[in-house]
Symmetry: C2
Amino acid sequence: VRIAHVGIVVRDLDAAIQTYRLLLDREPKVEDVPGQGMLEAVFEFGQSRLELMQPTTPDSPVGRFLARRGEGLHHVAIEVEDIEIALARAKKMGLLLVDEKPRRGSGGSRIAFVHPKGMNGVLLELTQQE
Amino acid sequence: VRIAHVGIVVRDLDAAIQTYRLLLDREPKVEDVPGQGMLEAVFEFGQSRLELMQPTTPDSPVGRFLARRGEGLHHVAIEVEDIEIALARAKKMGLLLVDEKPRRGSGGSRIAFVHPKGMNGVLLELTQQE
């Protein structure tokens, strides 16, 4: 169990990249994630990373977040050893799940989101590396 | 450079601890932080940690956050090699600093907060371990 990454919603990815790369003195990788309606810039730090996410369409999950909440921290991803066990535990606890079953994340990972309701307002991503 | 911790504001620390300890299968350390007007529960994961923060007074920074934004993600802490260099860089960039100079954090660390304005709505903590 560890923090795998933190996701941040931004309005203008290019401008946000300038800020974060200057402050952190790192270069990100930029990726188009059409399935999620967003562009993403990933800053890798050894085992963890920061993800800047800009919606490419207002009706994407990230676009709706931006309209409702504005820019800022969006989710935190926790790496677990066994995502099936973690999801079963979440179900048993009565937590509201965004994903009932794990789906494919980037780099061959398996991921599932737990809804902020029940997690003190935190959108939590469970992730298991292959 | 790496993610040191993520801070989460909660209304009821005992209830939040129950949720997170069950889901993450870990036990936290609970600390009173009277200087910040809050109680804190820290889940350690190797090199990173989750901090649940409950205000003990409404006029604390965390109390004002709770009143204004509700529960949820509050800040992300990035460990840097040299906090003086990182702060000098932030000043040169024209970022608004909460702490102009590093102050003492927990466990002998030196910390400084960068204001969300200029960081795409993210309250960023810079931290250097001794």
